[in-house]
Symmetry: C2
């Protein structure tokens, strides 16, 4: 087990209906000027917007709407203008990963004099400046952003989709499973695959005897595998939505990475797809993951894939058989969620950008230092294998 540091100060308020009683006190402790950020109109249709506005009655609420999936730097720029001109004290993000991710960079941008894209490209700059407190109300179980310092921001002008991180996790996160009852089947599936992928990225690591982390991840994987199909079939199953939501949070709050050595692999490879084609992140991960697993299964990694098969998929048999079956089981689970499993399925029919995407993924993701290192040629082969 490698040395590690762990500190996560986010105040989690988990359960149905807590915002009505608690949101006002939580937000107003930070000040009167609130930037309320959200995406499209779904929170208006669901009635959540009205509940939030009612809870904030008497505070000075400024709104920034239209934050899109794969959030764009343009939204952050608009937010920067507002937090500065309106002297904002706290950012209240109501939405999924995209809305909260953008809110984090906006919260930093108040204390930055130049273009906030610079804060994305050079996260070290963000660590030297202050950040407004963030309160969020999560409406999609997927990215784990509700309890970490990270954001992923896209810049369509440069075809870049980059991860960045600030000094603080959200101050308070409201996790109300009932707010995800209305999440579409597509987003429920994509979000569940995203959770699973976060876990796989941290499970497959060269660290030895890191059993606390391994056990945590195996439990979370079993939880997602079990409850995602139930959430698809019964969208208002409280237990399904609650387990997915708490799993999404713990999958990426730092615990699942403790004692690890390697960085991530499939995410940087997928980020290129989203950057070039603006596809749904979780769907892209679902397409790539089984191919990556097939690539990563070697004589050296076979034991770990076999353990994955036994503990997560309840398989039995010799290492080679179980390892191979575990990859098949993963692919079948992803397909069973009803999402496309090939690139043409998400309207990527040409290989023209594969080389540029692969070159970028290797550099951005430092794939030469991965659990199983990948070259640009390897990444191109993964993209090509995903064509059928």
């Amino acid at each position: 087990m490698e040395n590690f540091s762990f500190k996560n100060t986010t105040d989690i308020r988990f359960g149905a209906g807590r915002i009505d009683d608690e949101l006002r006190n939580v937000v107003s402790q930070f000040g009167k000027n609130v930037l309320l950020t959200y995406g499209g109109g779904s929170i208006k249709k669901s009635g959540l917007y009205d509940r939030v506005i009612k809870a904030l009655d008497g505070l000075n609420v400024v709104e920034l709407t239209g934050i899109a999936p794969n959030p764009k730097i343009e939204s952050v720029r608009k937010g920067q203008q507002l937090v500065k001109s309106q002297n904002i004290d706290v950012v209240l993000a109501v939405g999924g990963g995209s809305v909260i991710d953008a809110a984090k960079v906006i919260a930093s941008s108040k204390f930055y004099a130049s273009d906030p894209w610079e804060l994305v490209v050079e996260p070290s700059k963000r660590l030297t400046i202050d950040q407004l407190p963030i309160v969020d109300i999560l409406t999609l179980s997927a990215t784990g952003t509700e309890m970490n310092k990270g954001s992923v921001i896209s810049n369509p002008e440069t075809n870049q989709k980059l991860g960045t991180y600030g000094p603080n996790t959200p101050a308070v996160s409201f996790l109300d499973p009932t707010l995800t009852y209305s999440v579409s089947k597509w987003q429920t599936a994509a979000g569940s695959i995203d959770i699973f992928s976060h876990l796989a990225e941290q499970y497959f690591d060269q660290s030895k005897n890191n059993d606390v982390k391994i056990g945590l991840i195996e439990g979370l994987m079993r939880t997602v595998i079990k409850w995602a199909p139930i959430a698809l079939q019964t969208p208002d199953s409280y237990d399904a939505r609650a387990n997915l939501m708490w799993a999404s949070t713990l999958a990426l709050n730092g615990l699942a990475h403790t004692g690890n050595i390697n960085g991530w692999t499939v995410h940087p490879i997928e980020h290129e797809l989203s950057a070039y084609y603006d596809i749904t992140h979780g769907v892209g991960l679902g397409i790539l993951t089984p191919h990556w697993m097939t690539f990563a299964l070697t004589a050296e990694t076979q034991t770990q894939f076999a353990n994955f098969g036994r503990q997560v998929w309840q398989l039995s048999g010799d290492d080679q058989t179980v390892a191979t079956q575990a990859i098949s089981a993963t692919a079948e689970w992803i397909a069973s969620l009803g999402v496309p499993t090939t690139l043409p399925g998400v309207d990527i029919n040409s290989t023209e950008h594969f080389e540029a995407m692969a070159n970028s993924a290797v550099i951005v993701g430092q794939l030469d230092k991965g659990y199983v290192p990948l070259t640009a040629t390897d990444v191109i082969a993964l993209y090509e294998a995903s064509m059928a």
Copy 2:
């Protein structure tokens, strides 16, 4: 899954040798006047005391030594006198659960005008007053106090051993597995049983479909079961000590309780034993736990005990068989650690206090609201079953 709140701000610094580089900055951020608390002479014998004093060179260090296992209120009273008279800014606790537990109440007592025993009897009083920041260097993997708000303090004058909690978890906890290489077999076994018991107290709960918590606990249980015997056999196995240490911390930092309904059972029953006879807490838990499990296994709980058997002990078969075998496996694991498994084994040869202890345990532990409710008669029967 029940609603829950989770917030834990402790800064964990995990790994070998970090105090030499980091302790000074960590402590001095809170001020110059440091109360250094520790137990007997073991940290002097191991050289840890010298390293700490060297790291704190230039700060004003006041010492409070002699904090005993099952820490006594008298040590807290001495600490209160020092934090007030020496204008202490930060408490540095170097030791196991007892030293850190006492440090927490001492940290509160600076802001309390009367006898600190009142803060133990009425924890609500502590929540209304301030608490000095606590930095700790853990030397025993057991109680989890390094990442929670709790303490257990004994008052020999009144035969009471009570849990109490303050407003804050430790500010910073140094978790260096190498500092536990010198822990005796007795304390290693007792600490491992304590960790296991914390997990069992939270695993067996009436909450339904609480899979994230269940998976977390099962992974931590497997970790402790695997590594405790290795730590006994090879005291300087870094991986054994590291896994036990991180498991002890996560077993009781709040995560394993998320979404739960019930309180604890075996701990309050054991606390009476320690209060009357000053036995080692973890050994007392090991004596009682299999008997409690046998009592708690009913038609209603059989499925959960069977799941425990399958996921934690890798047993297979029908529910009734697996549930029974899981209790046997637990008892055998405890016995294999080389600790006494009966009350006479810890020199408790008389039943004279059982009735008073049982009556107290039921009230203090609210055992009528437990996973399987217990009356005083039930508790007496548990004590009696533990005589052989």
